[in-house]
Amino acid sequence: MIEFSLNGESVRTDVDPNTPLLWVVRDVFGLTGSKFGCGAGLCGACTMHVDEVAQRTCILPLSAVAGKRIKTIEGLGDVENLHPLQQAWIEHSVPQCGYCQSGQLMSAAALLDQNPNPTPAQIDQAMSGNICRCGTYPRIKQAIQAAALAYDATAKEGA
């Protein structure tokens, strides 16, 4: 039996501990927002946060996340309470087919959590593990920059 925190809730499962986290989250806990793209940690469609760090969960065995905090796209924000990045994604018409976007958003959120004011080069570096076959990169970059500005404004208001 392995226990971990999933979007703030404590969960446990007795599935094969070698099973990659992606399939546990999708098939055992029914959260299907995270996607399967390559099965080899090459495309980023399966990106979740493990203790606040963006990780490729298609190659991360369940046994490696015992006791850790997992956040998925479903925990980033929801329809009533969008994360600033999700809001920016909508305003900049980022998604095309949309399949990779959960992973893109989780990578972007991990970036802004660590660096609320990234340079374009830092955005490139943080996002280059996520492939988008529809070619939404220019929009993703604009949306991250816009969300960073919103972060910044919120921070200044708070100060």
């Binding site: 599935v15 094969d16 070698n18 099973t19 990659p20 399939w23 999708r26 098939d27 959260l31 299907t32 927002g33 996607k35 399967f36 793209g37 390559c38 099965g39 080899a40 090459l42 495309c43 469609a45 998925t72 796209i73 479903e74 924000g77 929801d78 329809v79 969008l82 999700q86 994604w89 909508i90 305003e91 018409s93 980022v94 998604p95 095309q96 087919c97 949309g98 399949y99 990779c100 976007q101 959960s102 958003l105 955005i123 490139d124 570096q125 996002m127 280059s128 593990g129 996520n130 492939i131 988008c132 076959r133 529809c134 070619g135 939404t136 990169y137 220019p138 929009r139 993703i140 970059k141």
Partner: protein, 733 residues
């Protein structure tokens, strides 16, 4: 407007040309008399195949085309919503099921592709919207005891004497009334949504992880399956040993089907993990030793043979060459490419005694339904296709062989089956953009006029294989033997008796050519090929636009001027070339940056692109792309921009990296480490200029792909002096 007792159950038949010339009869748009596959909610009104008004005032739009990222749900909701007077954001938009009313008017079958959706539905869906609004208004006039002239509408509400009434208020009366036909359409100056709206209707679902794709479908009692296929295309299974597989956890069955050996388990992971333990023998075939070098050698040999079909032969090439101020000759190579949509192929099939359901994302839901029927014997009318969001299509999801696989496995094991392809399956067992080679001889005279244009292309052809797949999919009751017979007969027509239009498109149409010859030699290497975003244009614009650049340089002419001079008969293309050329002259370049120009018309849309490129440490870097597009009236200008951006990045992946190679009959590449995709740090800044137009809208999903590879190649020549005639572009160091 006429409100008459006109039945919409008419049987007007017409014909359409599909792909390379297959003629199919089909009912006129929305006029079939088969029952609609729409569940009418209690108290709801379904006035036609595309709309439902519910008692609780929702308006549902059954989108006839498949959303694979191109924005078709937003676009078609905008088109029907304009005349219905309902904002696309006020509708519930869902994929339709299978029905002849949902046939693509451009093709006659229920297929999404060829950048046809907006163009083909622009007038028909507007008419459906206008007629339905007229029906609601007629009912409102009756219910409110008002005259039509006193009523107006706004975003799903009827306005009368300062009050607003939702359309749903009048559906009980509307249900009893005769349908309206021929209601007048809005003038462009009155448009509220077309040309105005920018945000996509599916963005919220897609940023919150709530959008459902085929991968996300589940049904009670389902098991997961993976399939081990022959690594050599078409090789038959000889034997297999499943004893090690059956000992793996979660595995419930191993079954041989027509296309390989399926491992069935309680989870995808268990099935995939166990598949590596399968020991399997395949037959040796003549293809088992095939290599890419041999293929290329054979294609070059075909250029020199006279086993060929002529697409165009006008004027006199020799005369044109004799007149030449400058002449060029070159051979251009384009490799096999996988589509690699981010969502690997998958299908969930549930078979009942005499009914079935299938969940997947597909560009050809009708083919999926027919193939389930063909394999299972269940009649098509009892098969429901739940079409979900497509995690990318690019042509790959027009092919439905995975539906056959899933159905065969479900029949063998007796439970619902979710078949999932891996990325390796996608790269190695898929359908591909054909490889091709083209030899060009071209000349320009002292007036800057192209005096000779002689092209021979050799490579695989898409149409014969497509027909082979399409026939059983269109006619599920056609016996297999007959279907195969007809397929091989039709396929034979393309073996150099008649050129496959998909193979030669884009090789000559853009320019005014008096002495022109285009020939095709069809070579079948047994590699399954299909439509890949922009199809033949993706190979052939590289040929044409590289050759045009070479011709300009050879004749010491400006490449933009050469194109302007020779596109007089093609004013829309001429105009985008002119605009892009003017912008190009204004571009400020840092040291070491160089510009390349290319233009191309495809899918009724014209595009010109300028690529700003540098070569640093032997690596080609694309910094900026200017894209000028004329697609007629832009129904949603921001989606047009995103399609231009996305197509350019898709085309850049092909230009810089895209290549599949064969070794011992097997595809050598397997995943994104050796079949790389452009990533964010390599993506250029893209500036899109949409030409202001009032003519009917044309395709935008594909036309930005073809020009980018030659635009970059032409810039690389200016940067390095190297003329790269092979894709992907590789510098000689």
């Amino acid at each position: 407007m006429s409100i008459k007792n006109l039945s919409r159950r008419r049987f007007l038949k017409t014909t359409a040309v599909v792909g390379g010339g297959l003629v199919v009869g089909f009912s006129l748009f929305g006029l079939s008399d088969e029952p609609l596959p729409v569940v009418t909610e209690p108290g709801g009104l379904v006035p036609n195949a595309f709309l439902q008004f519910t008692a609780d005032n929702r308006i549902i739009f059954y989108c006839p085309r498949d959303e694979m990222g191109q924005g078709v749900m937003t676009g078609l909701a905008t088109v029907i919503g304009e005349e219905l007077d309902v904002s696309p954001h006020s509708m519930e938009i869902v994929h339709c099921e299978v029905h002849s009313d949902y046939a693509n008017p451009a093709m006659g079958i229920q297929v999404t592709g060829g950048s046809t959706s907006i163009n083909a539905h622009y007038m028909p869906l507007r008419q459906v919207g206008a007629d339905t609004r007229a029906l609601i208004l007629a009912a409102a006039a009756k219910d409110l005891n008002a005259s039509l002239g006193e009523l107006n509408t706004e975003d799903g509400q009827v306005l009368y004497q300062g009050q607003t009434y939702p359309y749903g208020r009048f559906i009980a009366t509307a249900r009893e009334m005769d349908p309206v036909t021929g209601a007048p359409l809005r003038r462009q100056s009155e448009f509220r949504y077309i040309g105005q709206l920018s945000r996509r209707t599916d963005a919220l679902a897609k940023v919150t992880g709530q959008a459902d794709y085929g991968l996300d479908a589940r049904v009670e009692g389902m098991q997961y399956a993976v399939l081990v296929r022959s690594p050599v295309f078409g090789a038959q299974l000889l034997s297999y040993d499943d004893s090690a597989v059956l000992r793996r956890p979660g595995v419930t069955a191993v079954v041989a089907i027509s296309n390989g050996v399926a491992i069935v388990a309680d989870s995808y992971w268990h099935a995939r993990d166990a598949a590596s333990q399968l020991s399997v023998q395949w037959e040796d075939t003549p293809r088992s030793s095939l290599t890419s070098e041999q293929q290329r050698f054979e294609l070059i040999a075909a250029l020199d043979s006279d086993d060929e079909a002529t697409a165009v032969d006008e004027g006199d090439i020799q005369l044109g060459l004799a007149d030449a101020r400058a002449q060029i000759e070159g051979e251009y190579w384009t490799p096999y490419l996988a589509h690699a949509p981010m969502e690997p192929m998958n299908a969930l099939v549930r078979l009942g005694d005499n009914d079935a359901e299938i969940w997947l994302g597909i560009q050809s839901a009708q083919a999926a339904q027919n193939l389930v029927s063909r394999v299972s014997g269940i009649p098509t009318e009892n098969i429901v296709v739940h079409n979900l969001f497509l995690g990318g299509g690019f042509g790959r999801r027009g092919v439905a062989t995975h539906v056959v696989e899933a159905t065969e496995i479900a029949m063998a094991v007796g439970t619902p089956i979710k078949l999932m392809w891996s990325r390796e399956d996608d790269i190695q067992s898929g359908f591909y953009r054909p490889a091709s080679i083209a030899r060009v001889r071209a000349a320009v005279d002292s007036n800057g006029v192209i005096s000779a244009w002689d092209v021979k292309r050799a490579g695989g052809d898409i149409t014969p294989g497509t027909i082979k797949n399409l026939l059983p999919a269109i006619f599920p009751s056609l016996p297999t033997g007959l279907a195969n017979g007809v397929s091989s007969t039709v396929g034979f027509l393309f073996s150099n008796l008649s050129p496959d239009s998909s193979s030669v498109e884009g090789l000559h149409e853009n320019y005014n050519l008096t002495n022109v010859q285009v020939k095709n030699s069809s070579i079948d290497h047994g590699v399954p090929v299909t439509f890949w975003r922009s199809v033949g244009h993706s190979n052939n614009a590289f040929v044409t636009e590289s050759a045009m650049d070479e011709l300009a340089i050879a004749a010491d002419l400006d490449p933009v001027e050469l194109r302007l001079k020779n596109t007089g008969d093609n004013p829309r293309l001429n105009n985008v070339i002119r605009i892009a050329g003017e912008r190009m002259r204004e571009m400020q370049l840092p040291d070491g940056h160089h510009l390349g120009f290319a233009s191309h018309g495809s899918f009724l849309t014209d595009v010109a692109q300028v690529a700003q490129v540098s070569v640093e440490a032997g690596k080609i870097r694309v910094h900026k792309v200017l894209c000028v597009v004329d697609c007629g009236l832009a129904v949603n200008p921001d989606i047009v921009r995103t399609q231009m951006e996305g197509g350019i990045i898709f085309g850049l992946t092909a230009a810089l990296y895209g290549e599949l190679t064969l070794e011992a009959g097997r595809v050598k590449q397997s995943n994104f480490h050796d079949y790389p995709m452009l990533r964010m740090d390599e993506a250029p800044e893209i500036v899109v200029i949409i030409v202001d137009s009032k003519t009917e809208p044309t395709g935008v999903g594909e036309p930005s792909v073809p020009p980018i590879a030659p635009a970059v190649a032409n810039a690389v020549f200016r940067a390095t002096g190297q003329r790269l005639r092979d894709l992907p572009l590789r510098l000689v160091v």
